[in-house]
């Protein structure tokens, strides 16, 4: 095997691991379009695994002053996450009025919120598994304080 082949195989392996981790953690997708008074278009796409990995690197003392104790809500987060994974894709909440349309739905493993009004459009898609992992990490760090 030549050096070039080794490099290609390494890149392929890294890409494969990256794809696997991204698929496992899902994708956080935030899209904000501000229409008035100025037009702004912000689109952020982050692999969920990156969020949880970053949280692991945050020192526990940073969560010392967190106002709410996540530990007591962990069973709720776990129960919601378990039910969510078994639920078919569906609209959970929809609010429609002449000025605004709010849609909260489940699609795949993600909780998607869309808010559309005259001034802005906001789309937030968060993998529920990542929310659970985040809650677990933050709660563990809080308990260390």
């Amino acid at each position: 095997m030549t050096t070039r082949d080794k490099v290609l195989w390494t890149i392929a392996a890294i890409a494969l691991v990256g794809c696997f981790l991204t698929a496992r953690g899902g994708i956080v997708n935030v899209h904000v379009v501000e229409r008035q008074p100025e037009v702004h278009n912000i689109h952020v796409i982050v692999p969920g695994i990156l969020v949880t990995m970053t949280l692991h690197l945050v020192p526990a003392r940073c969560f010392h002053n967190s106002s709410s104790d996540l530990q007591q809500w962990l069973p709720v987060v776990r129960a919601v996450s378990d039910s969510f994974s078994k639920m078919p894709d569906t609209v959970l909440v929809e609010v429609t009025d002449p000025q605004e349309h709010v849609l909260v739905r489940k699609s795949g493993g993600s909780l998607i919120t869309d808010v559309n009004d005259a001034n802005e459009y906001v789309h937030v898609s968060v993998p529920v598994r990542m929310l659970r992992d985040t809650a677990e990490i933050v709660a563990a760090k809080q308990s260390r304080n």
Binding site: Q72, P75, V76, R78, A79, V80, D82, S83, F84, K86, M87, P88, T90, V91, L92, V93, E94, V95, T96, D97, P98
Partner: protein, 191 residues
């Protein structure tokens, strides 16, 4: 065509039995959904739709331990302004189908009855903008909610009973400005 040997037939039969068993164990009853729809009739045109799988509520409620809610049960003395709700519900359980309360006045008509093992409450206010309220709760849900002799409301048990129910409308409220409907069915879209 070559005939299958006895061993091959046994293997094929075994595979079919395994597949059949797997299908039976994986077949689950259809998910039951609680739907809430609020429609604003005042000209604002606002509508609110909420669709919630009952299984989720059944799993999540026991996980909440806040205030009076513990393990899916609300601890309460069930005494409200000298009315012992637990005793009334005990009486309701054993009573045959009957009209319990009928109020007819120029302002409103109220009817509370037990019909086909359902507790039925009708309130009809007089006038063009009068409110119409219909509540139909199966007795088995009420029985599960308030177990005999206890002073707590078991929300998880009530939801579990609701999951066993057929499609049913539990609450409808019709006002001049708003209408509300709460119902259970197997459709996740609530259409």
């Amino acid at each position: 065509m070559r005939k299958l040997t006895l061993d091959t037939q046994k293997i094929v039969l075994g595979v079919f039995i395994l597949l059949g068993f797997s299908a039976i164990t994986q077949a689950r009853p259809a998910e039951r959904w609680l739907h809430v729809r609020v429609i604003d009739n005042s000209g604002q045109g606002e509508t609110v739709n909420v669709n919630m799988p009952l299984s989720m509520a059944e799993k999540v409620l026991p996980a909440i331990n806040q205030g009076d809610l513990h393990n899916g049960k609300i601890t309460t003395n069930l005494h409200m302004e000298d009315v012992d709700l637990a005793t009334i519900l005990d009486a309701l359980r054993t009573a045959p189908d009957n009209e319990f309360v009928t109020v007819q006045s120029k302002d409103e008509n109220v009817r509370v009855a037990k019909v086909n093992d359902n507790l039925v409450v009708h309130v009809v206010e007089s006038g063009k903008d009068g409110e119409h309220v219909d509540v139909t709760i199966p007795m088995r849900v009420i029985n599960a909610l308030v177990a005999k002799g206890t002073h707590e409301m078991d929300l998880t048990a009530a939801i579990h009973e609701m999951e066993q129910m057929g499609d049913a409308t539990l609450v409808t409220v019709q006002e001049a400005t708003e209408s509300v409907r709460i119902w259970i069915d197997s459709s996740n879209s609530g259409k």
